[in-house]
Symmetry: C2
Subunit: 403 residues, 2 copies
């Protein structure tokens, strides 16, 4: 009999009606003979409300208490789902993380699942029961309540799929799969049937909210096939699988964009070893993530320009950290907060020549100026004027035949 | 250094502002040098909301899942109180019941605390820390989440006071103590400074909502002094203590009433052994509590009338159970749903002659007809017309010099 993980995200359990609906989906799979482990998120809105509460109490609410606070959300959903299943005549039981236990390591609010006991749950599955487990949380070796970061229920689902060696891991969400671009903004965006872990990672890190990156990464490392599908339709969703199992006819799989970037340029930086390190060290120490970095070769061997992007909210802080660091020699700084990042992603890109040229020409045709460029094996990203984002995405979507 | 339990009820932690206020009360006690264990209820409204959720999912939501669901409420408050204390610079830590552990026995939603480990918390108190514990819950010997019934946070507080041998157990609530009658309805009701466990039990069972009965009972059995006080004023509250420590100047301590009673009379019941058992057995089997029972001696030795009271919501069900029991011989049944129970309570009553007479004469002066009477060592209750309740309470309040 196949073992399955079914994970339901916050919007999929966001109301009593939706919980009842999710329970019916679980019952159907159970009636079809699968052994099921259900992983649930907190009801949509709950986690944000609890975070608001904590912020109202303290701007620096301590992380240990925050974990105790936030993990209550999934406890509620687990109990409601289990209750709904029992009401439908399906034998079901909730297991809190400390009851299993699910062991984590790492800091509060940012732990990783490292181990899990399987016997109790496997016995229960053998007896025909459905196990319902709150996602996003665990306990540390010393018995403290821990959480594994926002969106961590996906990571719980993948960890359970791995440890219980389930046949599949199904992520129920509020969209019917991964799309070639944001379907809310690009009406011609199409659902992708199959996508590789790597492409999914690039799309996630670029703002596709379908699945949490670290969970995709864990699935990739353990070759666990993921099936992302909508809780609200019966349509086939997107399979996230190994590149080897995908027949690439198109070089480009999707177009993604993010609109909360800022571009910072240091003009006239001394061109000598260690400068980049001096610039980025204080940013790293202050948890400011640097995304793209571009440094031109200096014409005279003495001075160069250094450009990088950060999240918009961090840009002012980044510049003041740099300006207060007397070690760095430069002429002046320049911030452009009105930029966005547009990327094309595709595992087939590496074997298809001319993709970069095609992308740049296509943007040029729309008179879109490229402010910075960064490339990887399966992704090309450009920084452009924020106001031109949707135009650029639409154009690229058409250029690469994704419509 | 004295050890104290401070328990905060639902309204005392019903908003972020109130949680911050409760944290300040705790800090003050901590700064005064007490070793403090805090017990918290769920934020006012939370438990009812969760119960509504469960009812929307299933009319017979299973009790195991209900315990998992409801206990999340106190987890939230514990985390917020601990976070607020840490923000005020007070070393504080939440301990979930499974982390301590607090062991219970009995059924889901209706368990009793039977044991608790003290070492971890005592060590923490010795280090100057404040331990914050969710009330109302525990874990069974087999590691299941259990709850100890509505209002169970009081029981948790008393159990902790007992097991940790604390000097006092302070119950912070939204009223400033126990009153001689309901202060919302009887403006002349006065706060009682000291009351015996027995009197408090009678008042609680008669509808005074200040403290949960089983918690008072546990305090009585272990002679733990309780101090009920308001979270919102600095006034001295009510001490609930052993009768031996109270100087009774007044025979009557308080007047209580309940308005959700119904009086059921079976007219012309055969006056033979076993009739009462036949009447009450099916009620007991159907969880219908019978409060007062009055049976007159029959005039002719053959037929008598049997009167009893139940909660109003149970009255129709009670009568239909009786009517469907062919074993019972009677002429007809009569329900009066428009009655209330008014009681005077006082440990001094037993040593003061004439209290009963004084009560009846006083009601007669107000032309209030007594429909049934029941007495105990420290209480006299009468059933009267519902519309006359407040008149009766006011009159008795005055008669026994409680104004």
């Amino acid at each position: 009999m196949k073992k399955k993980v079914l994970k339901f995200g916050g919007t999929s359990v966001g109301s009593i009606q939706r919980i009842l609906h999710a329970a019916k989906i679980i019952k159907k799979e159970h009636d079809n003979g699968a052994k099921i482990i259900v992983v649930v998120s907190a009801m949509a809105g709950t986690t944000n409300n609890l975070i608001e509460h904590s912020k109202s109490i303290s701007k620096k609410f301590n992380k240990r208490d925050l974990d105790v606070l936030l993990t209550s959300g999934e406890q509620v959903t687990s109990a409601l789902i289990s209750g709904a299943l029992n009401d439908l005549g399906v034998k079901a039981k909730t297991w809190m993380n400390w009851q299993i236990p699910i062991i984590t390591e790492g800091d509060h609010t940012n732990s990783r699942i490292i181990n899990m006991s399987v016997d109790k749950i496997n016995n229960y599955l053998s007896e025909g029961g459905v196990a319902v487990i709150p996602g996003f949380q665990g306990i540390s070796k010393s018995g403290e309540i821990t959480s594994i970061g926002r969106g961590g229920s996906d990571a719980t689902a993948v960890a359970i799929a791995k440890i219980f060696q389930t046949e599949s891991c199904e992520i129920y969400t509020d969209v019917d799969g991964v799309h070639s671009s944001d379907p809310n903004k690009i009406p011609l965006a199409k659902k992708i049937d199959k996508i590789s872990y790597e492409e999914m990672l690039e799309l996630s890190s670029l703002g596709a909210k379908v699945m949490q990156s670290s969970a995709v990464q864990a699935a990739m490392m353990n070759d666990i096939p993921i099936h992302v599908k909508s809780t609200f339709t019966n349509r086939k969703g997107t399979e996230i699988i190994s590149e080897d199992n995908i027949d690439y006819r198109k070089a480009v799989t999707g177009v993604a964009y993010s609109k909360d970037d800022a571009k910072i340029t240091l003009l006239g930086v001394a061109d000598k070893p260690g400068v980049a390190a001096d610039v980025f060290e204080p940013l790293s120490k202050n948890q400011i993530n640097v995304d793209m970095v571009i440094q031109n070769i200096s014409a005279d061997g003495k001075k160069t320009d250094l450009t990088f992007t950060t999240k918009r909210q961090d840009s002012k802080n980044a510049v003041s950290l740099i300006e207060s660091n007397k070690k760095i020699e430069y002429e002046k700084t320049h911030i452009n907060d009105k930029v966005s990042k547009v990327s094309i992603v595709g595992a087939g890109m590496v074997t298809t020549p001319g993709i970069t040229f095609k992308m740049f020409r296509s943007l040029a045709e729309e008179k879109i100026n490229i402010l910075a460029i960064s490339t990887s094996e399966i992704k090309i990203s450009v920084i452009i004027d924020e106001n031109l984002t949707i135009d650029a995405v639409k154009k690229l979507h058409k250029t690469f035949n994704l419509d």
